[in-house]
């Protein structure tokens, strides 16, 4: 059913319903579950998102590799202390939240994979920051998560969401697009404006490769979540101002799929290209593996 954003928009316009309502109705009919049970499940996800953000900002997070150095806490402390982040109070705090979830994920903490574990910081960061900035209720955020999920289903059906198949554009790009549609809806934009936000957010991340140092979900993944949040905010502000993407969202998703399909294997999560293949990336990987092998003794 959800094979096109255009279809979602048309349904919403025809039925005079918000996007999340179209998605919820679809899920009710495909799963046979009640609205209450779906909402309860989604609320549990929102709760987990919030606790992952809080955990990541409470203090420096230690990851298995120690490649990450508690940057979320460092950045959050700095912007709270100076109050003059160039990105402004809301985007800067959203960036901190995205990094927080990324670090909690790398430190074997509990997160919600949205749409993947590596891109898990973006949706919580955008939605919880909008709640802080504009006072949206938890139940509005839960609705917004259904909208985001509906966009994600279209992306999976037309392209994909895994770095191994489509590069980082498929992970953090998809997450930013999903979050952008949800944010526009929360801010009172039309379904059509949500579609433009999807197209703009994804357009600005086309071609992004998946190049994790040592193959770990840390460098550059955690900071790519921060970058994707910035792209999301930009797309949302543009769409809310009435700026339109000349290329429709579905065609942008199709372009992403074609780019991913032609992407060399080195740029698809294999740690053989991009930042992973730089002299410093390789040296960090070597140091990590040396340490890991040293610890690979057993507990008998």
């Amino acid at each position: 059913m959800f094979t096109s954003i255009q279809f979602l928009i048309e349904q919403a316009e025809k039925l005079q319903q918000p996007l999340h309502e179209i998605v919820i109705q679809f899920e009710i009919s495909s799963s046979g579950r009640t609205r209450e049970s779906l909402t309860a499940d989604m609320t549990r996800r929102l709760d987990t998102m919030r606790s992952s953000v809080e955990k990541g900002l409470a203090g420096p997070v230690h990851t298995l590799s120690s490649l990450s150095k508690g940057n979320a806490y460092k950045y959050y402390s700095a912007i709270n202390h100076s109050h003059n982040a160039l990105t402004g109070p809301w985007l800067s705090r959203a960036i901190a939240r995205a990094m927080a979830v990324g670090e909690v994920n790398a430190g074997m903490g509990c997160i919600v994979a949205t749409p993947t574990a590596g891109a898990a910081g973006i949706l919580p960061a955008v939605l919880l920051s909008l709640q802080e900035a504009r006072g949206f209720s938890d139940s509005q955020l839960v609705d917004a998560l259904f909208t985001a999920g509906g966009i994600g289903i279209v992306i999976v059906n037309r392209a994909n969401i895994s770095g191994a198949a489509g590069g980082c554009q498929a992970e953090t790009g998809s997450a930013a697009a999903m979050a952008a549609a949800a944010a526009v809806e929360l801010l009172g934009g039309t379904p059509q404006q949500s579609a433009h936000a999807v197209a703009l957010a994804l357009s600005n991340q086309l071609g992004l490769v998946c190049d994790p140092v040592a193959g770990l979900v840390e460098v550059p993944c955690i900071l790519r979540n921060a970058g994707a949040v910035s792209q999301c905010f930009t797309a949302v502000d543009l769409a809310m101002a009435g700026v339109e993407s000349l290329i429709p969202a579905d065609e942008v998703i199709d372009a992403m799929e074609r780019i991913g399909g032609r992407m060399d294997e080195r740029f698809r999560e294999t740690a053989q290209g991009g930042l992973a293949a730089t002299p410093t990336g390789r040296a960090l990987a070597q140091a990590f593996w040396k340490q890991a092998r040293g610890e690979n003794t057993n507990d008998l």
């Binding site: 495909s30 989604m42 903490g109 191994a164 840390e218 057993n298 507990d299 008998l300």
Partner: protein
């Protein structure tokens, strides 16, 4: 453009899981968990052989802790997964990890468990095939395909005529709908493994009934994986 794959919204907004990787962490927990269900209880001792990417990058993704956590009965969202080594000590589970090369035909994220508890021993191999999904591929030398995406009934018994009918007739009586049915046979030993995936859970009384057949050696119920 592909048609819809029957995805749920919760496949996209979810799962709730302990990081950092759906394949190397969440999938690894599930492999341990399903191996424990197949074994029938918590093993006292586990030799855990890691192949391919599990061997090469597993440690950085907590694959080792995740596999042990699964053997202890944890789910992918359990926040105690990072402490599984300590918890294993307390629960009386000893384990040893080995890096092995199971050949190029094996999925890169493959684990081979040798589990034991007293005289009870089992060999179970499986792979984490992406997005946290898994497949158990070998069981005591038998090739199998068990994904735990359904409620699963596993029956190990003598390979002789009429056994399939004895099982399915009773399932029919109980109105349990079979989604998939697979039999794998060891020609030499004359043993057969039946993997029966059903839409509904198998009641305990039915498990006891199947266990009472004189040709049945073991009956196991593997719950459908959640999240």
């Amino acid at each position: 453009m592909e048609n819809t794959r029957g995805l749920s919204i919760f496949d996209i907004i979810g799962p709730i899981m302990v990081g950092p990787s759906s394949s190397h962490t969440a999938g690894a927990v599930r492999l341990g968990l399903v191996a424990r269900s197949i074994f029938g209880k918590q093993p006292d001792f586990a030799v855990i052989e890691l192949h391919g990417s599990f061997a090469e990058t597993g440690r950085g993704h907590g694959t080792d802790r995740a596999l042990v956590a699964g053997l202890l009965g944890m789910e992918p969202s359990d926040e105690q997964i990072p402490s599984s080594f300590q918890l294993a000590r307390e629960a009386g589970l000893k384990y040893i990890f080995k890096n092995v090369d199971l050949g190029e035909s094996q999925h890169p994220n493959t684990v081979h468990f040798l589990l034991s508890s007293g005289d009870h021993k089992m060999e179970i191999a499986g792979s984490s095939v992406g997005g946290g999904m898994i497949a158990i591929t070998r069981l005591d030398g038998f090739p199998v395909n068990l994904t735990a995406e359904f409620e699963t009934l596993l029956i190990i018994g003598d390979d002789r005529p009429g056994t399939i009918n004895a099982i399915t007739a009773r399932l029919y009586e109980e109105h349990i709908n079979v989604a998939f049915f697979n039999v794998s046979r060891d020609q030499r030993g004359g043993q057969a493994i039946m993997i029966i995936e059903t839409d509904d859970p198998i009641p305990v009384e039915l498990m006891e009934y199947f266990t009472s057949f004189n040709w049945v050696h073991a009956v196991r119920r593997i719950p459908r994986l959640k999240e």
